[in-house]
């Protein structure tokens, strides 16, 4: 049906007669090009708007390519906004699940290029039918939208032990259930999930639009289990980006894995051949943790205590005892009183690779504020997202250390936890999410 629809759309010349997101952008592009005097570039963009065959070609400047060896939204320079959602699969029909993943892939390819989710778009369909795009992103640019998909442990074998889709033997060993960590106060209804979608963009409306349209496409196949909005990235994933601050007011993610560290990414981020089942090679494992911060008590702790807990200065972000943000922490340094400059229980020390067998993470978290909690306290914190090659060697040992010893725990509560295997990238228009897994 979608093929016919696509044909009809093109034959009827709809792209020329309807207001599509892409067209609005193209027109804006013409304006810019006119000023800059680059007429040829503008012409190419206009043609690109009618070219359904290639979503990536001629994409506007703030579009992130959808197709590639790895999924976008991992090493992509962290955007400002997040809408993350976990789904339960509610069908038992493997064919329907795969068909939905195909539809999702096509819709994501379109939306990341700044187009409407469906081929007719928000206003291009027949008046009697509900539009195949919800419309709130009409006229908005791609905003560096990335859509990243992952598969949770329960997709392979559900809580009752059933292999619903005949893929239990494809579960990667690295997708092992996370252990209970000291102090975990997890709420099951906002933890776990069979599938996840991470939508990141520089405009929150664009991120929400992506999730909303994918959830709609999935009606009857998946059901939203939980979702989380994030504002304000708390990590940099590229050296081009300045280090942002989390809600404790500290720079976060200074020592993050970054897109430029090619060798480290191979070693620490991407699943390599032989790590597990082939379908996961080139993919990465995402751990998400919703970490509520006890904002009010933190705010009345002294600057010295805050810096001791973090192990960095609040102003520059330099490790205690050093002067520049990117200086290596000197974990051996002692003050005049013989005490370590960077406390034994400080966050920086406990999370440092030297204390964790060299394990690193690519963190991609976001600040969240879900209003207030009824006691007048901000319901706020960090929605932590970390990508890695193998959580058993990376997140699990690091979090074990932190959960036992981190002085910061007094101000933190982990309320949600999830783990997903994010497959490698969708390579081209003939490929789709889950193709290698489901065959």
């Amino acid at each position: 049906m979608s093929t016919d629809a696509e044909k009809t759309s093109t034959d009827a010349g709809r792209p020329g007669t309807t207001l599509s997101r892409r067209r609005a952008i193209t027109l804006a592009g013409v304006g810019v090009a006119g000023v800059a005097g680059v007429a040829g570039g503008a012409g190419a963009l206009i043609r690109g708007a009618t070219d359904h065959a290639s979503a990536d070609a001629g994409a506007p400047a703030d579009a992130v390519p959808f197709h590639g060896a790895h999924q976008a939204g991992i090493t992509t320079p962290a955007q400002d906004r997040l809408h993350f959602v976990a789904f339960d699969v509610i069908t038992k029909d493997r064919g329907r699940l795969v068909a939905m993943l195909q539809e999702w892939t096509a819709a994501a390819a379109r939306m990341t290029a700044g187009r409407d989710a469906g081929v007719f778009g928000a206003v291009g369909g027949v008046p009697e039918a509900p539009p195949d795009d919800t419309g709130e992103a009409l006229g908005l640019p791609p905003s560096q939208l990335t859509v990243t998909v992952g598969f949770g442990p329960t997709l392979f074998r559900d809580a009752q032990g059933r292999d619903r889709f005949g893929i239990a033997d494809q579960r990667p060993p690295a997708l092992a259930d996370l252990p209970h960590f000291a102090g975990d106060a997890l709420r099951p209804e906002i933890s776990g999930g069979d599938l996840c979608v991470q939508a990141c963009a520089n405009d929150p409306q664009v991120a929400v639009h992506a999730i909303r349209n994918l959830a709609r496409i999935g009606m009857g196949v998946v059901s939203v289990r939980w979702s989380q909005l994030g504002f304000g990235r708390t990590s940099s994933t590229s050296r081009e980006q300045a280090t942002p601050r989390n809600l404790f007011g500290f720079k976060d993610g200074t020592a993050n894995l970054k897109a430029e560290d090619a060798a480290l990414l191979r070693e620490q981020l991407w699943a390599q051949p032989g790590d597990g089942p082939d379908w996961m090679t080139g993919g990465s494992y995402a751990v998400t943790r919703k970490i509520r911060m006890q904002i009010e008590t933190w705010d009345r702790s002294s600057l010295a205590e805050q810096e001791q807990i973090v192990g960095r200065t609040k102003g520059s972000g330099a490790p205690l005892g050093r002067s520049d943000e990117f200086d290596e922490p000197d974990l051996a340094a002692r003050a005049d009183d013989g005490q370590p400059v960077i406390a034994e229980t400080s966050h920086v020390r406990l999370a440092h690779p030297t204390l964790n067998n060299g394990a690193r993470l690519l963190r991609r978290g976001y600040n969240f504020v879900d209003g207030s909690d009824g006691l007048g306290r901000l319901d706020a914190g960090l929605f932590f997202i970390a990508y890695q090659r193998d959580p058993r060697r990376q997140f699990v040992p690091i979090q074990t250390q932190l959960s036992r010893h981190d002085a910061m725990n007094e101000y933190l509560r982990h309320v949600s936890s999830a783990l997903f295997a994010c497959p490698p990238g969708v390579t081209d228009a003939g490929d789709h999410w889950g193709r290698a897994l489901f065959g």
């Binding site: 009697e128 009857g220 059901s223």
Partner: protein, 379 residues
């Protein structure tokens, strides 16, 4: 439909006296032609014996005797549970007739002891006559005529039941009024979008407390519901009950006179599911009685009736959609069916959040394909 109001009122009177009426008969001239198929049906609480299951095309008359202890119903369904004819409210010991025009084809008969569930089904084959495929427009005309019949049968029951409910309220019989409340509302909820199109009457009959505007009295079903389930004091509700019956009579007359288009049918089918998704799943509709699942089921049945009326047209225009609709209607029925309690339904408050979410998921899964029916009908 021209004289429907008169017929409905007359039928109610007759029903009260002799218990014989024919909700399923069609008023148009075609029903005069055709052979004289006469079929007796013996219904009990557990059986449904249809004397002949091979008929010739044309008019058939089913004479249904209820020798069980529960109130019964008898249906003739075409594929997809499209109601060809139905006779409701057959009290124990009574015989009622159903006259229905049946072209050649495969059908199902069903008795519904206790008036709930899928009923006791049996096959019915009709042969002979012309089976030439009908033009698309003719199919849509038949769809609206078929649905109009459905509306007429539901409004007739609505009137009867409202009368009984009002009588119980005025007699101060709290237990009986409580028992009749969800049953009465079933007939309202099945055709709610039709009723709701009469904007002034709907809030008087079905308005919830919060939608009542300044200067307007809180009346109707939900006012009496509140009194029945909160204080149990209905001694002052006589005038409200009388008023309810007057308003229901007025809306029934209007609904029966309304000429619906195929597009309205399609949108009505969707609107009914939207009712479920927004008001029943949340327990807002029946906040005092918690009988939301009765409404849920009635909305679902009404939506299915509208889609079933359109089915022959949809089979020509969008066969894939028909398959999807069948699957999803069956899924919702299965999900909801887990919460039956006797001949009725569990209370909304007896369901866990997980169970409500499962129902919500199944309704969403159904509402998506149903939302595509209008476009298929329009093209």
């Amino acid at each position: 439909m021209r004289t429907t109001r008169f017929l409905v009122l007359a039928a109610t009177g007759v029903l009260a006296v002799t218990g014989v009426t024919a909700c399923g008969s069609d008023d148009d001239s075609s029903s005069a032609a055709g052979g004289g198929n006469s079929v007796t049906v013996k219904a009990t609480d557990t059986t449904c014996e249809v004397a002949t299951t091979d008929l010739t095309a044309g008019q058939a008359t089913f004479s249904v005797t209820n020798s069980g202890s529960k109130v019964n119903e008898f249906y003739v369904y075409a594929a997809g549970d499209r109601v060809m004819g139905e006779v409701e409210n057959i009290a124990p010991g009574l015989t009622r007739e159903l006259r229905v025009e049946l072209p050649a084809g495969a059908y199902e008969t069903a008795c519904k002891p206790g008036m709930s569930g899928r009923g006791i089904r049996g096959a019915l084959k009709v042969s002979g006559g012309s089976a030439a495929p009908k033009a698309a427009d003719a199919l849509l005309t038949e769809a609206t005529a078929g649905y109009q019949r459905y509306v007429t049968s539901q409004t007739a029951e609505l009137l009867t039941r409202t009368g009984e409910f009002v009588a119980a309220v005025k007699a101060g019989d709290v237990a009986k009024a409580k028992a009749l409340y969800p049953v009465t509302r079933t007939y309202w909820e099945r055709i709610e979008p039709v009723a709701e199109s009469f904007g002034d009457l709907d809030p008087k009959i079905d308005g919830r407390e919060e939608v009542i505007e300044e200067g307007m009295e809180f009346t109707g079903f939900h006012r009496i519901e509140k009194d029945l389930w909160t204080t149990g004091d209905i001694t002052k509700d006589g005038p409200i009950a009388d008023r309810l019956l007057v308003d229901v009579k007025a809306i029934v007359a209007k609904a029966n006179a309304e000429k619906l288009t195929p597009l309205q049918l399609a949108n009505g089918a969707k609107a009914l599911l939207d009712e479920v998704a927004s008001g029943k799943i949340t327990g807002e509709e029946e906040r005092y009685s918690h009988t939301d699942l009765w409404d849920f089921n009635a909305n679902l049945e009404g939506s299915k009736a509208a889609v079933a009326a359109l089915r022959p047209a949809l089979e020509q225009r969008a066969p894939e959609l028909v398959k999807q609709l069948d699957t999803e209607f069956a899924n919702v029925e299965k999900a909801l069916g887990q919460h039956r309690a006797g001949d009725g339904w569990k209370l909304h408050t007896e369901l866990s959040t997980t169970q409500l979410k499962e129902l919500s998921d199944s309704i969403n899964a159904l509402a998506e394909p149903v939302s595509k029916v209008a476009a298929a009908v329009a093209r």
